[in-house]
Symmetry: C2
Subunit: 168 residues, 2 copies
Amino acid sequence: MPFTVAVLVGGIACMAPATGQADDDSAPISGLKLPSGYRDWRVISVAHEEGKLNDLRAILGNDIAIATSREGKLPYPDGAIIVRLAWSYDPLEESAQAFGHPQSYVAGRPKNGVQVMVKDSSRYAASGGWGFAQFDDGEPVGEAVQSTCFACHSIVKARDFVFNHYAR
Amino acid sequence: MPFTVAVLVGGIACMAPATGQADDDSAPISGLKLPSGYRDWRVISVAHEEGKLNDLRAILGNDIAIATSREGKLPYPDGAIIVRLAWSYDPLEESAQAFGHPQSYVAGRPKNGVQVMVKDSSRYAASGGWGFAQFDDGEPVGEAVQSTCFACHSIVKARDFVFNHYAR
């Protein structure tokens, strides 16, 4: 059970894997970059992670991903890109003061990196057609996340490995 | 203190006011409509409300609002529109099963209406230049929200009555 939890947390956060997985560095995701302009993309959904992650997050998509998510017609086609931003989970000072306890939580500083999944059914055939990457302060954290991200996203294989539905 | 809390909750949710405030129906916000295409607007921030509201929310802005929010140069100019969407705060089934308790919360069904604030310093001079409205299932809930929204947003008057900062 501890392993299961670790994989899940790793997947949701796409954390770098523990030691002993160095071979994953050879995963074929070289060149997967943080797409330009992603902060201007439209919203697929929003979420909150508890526990160690403790963040508020927005899941954005490029035009292809938005169209597919909105229509709900899976799988996502090649070219779809989904980006997950996250921020610290901060109580809103004014409401906390008024209520005497936190009532409103808002996005604070960037946290837990920016994560990207790119659909390319040929290139990433071994991982459901998705390439995964994480960027901390704009820099990739290493290609080993490919396997840890994929391991967790596999629990929603029936949804083409994408956790979030389009929030209507 | 109960009144303070009620106003705050009412403001954050822009709930319809209690009885005894019927005069607010004459607030000059007639014609304030749900802007077309708002679901495609860019993200200012995301948030979570606890308690009775119990939702996940996204705060979106039109181009004017996004530019001002991003630059942080207040006040917002006329023409700025901010829209707050909200959804039920749902545990992600898959992670809850794996952890034995909720870990990830995702956006569920639409909840607590869609709220809009529009900057027009002449028309809404009496409320800091902002007009407020709420739409439930696309229909305005009544003009009385103008006063309840404004009452709560006044606690962040120093931020031009806008709770959320741009999430970078």
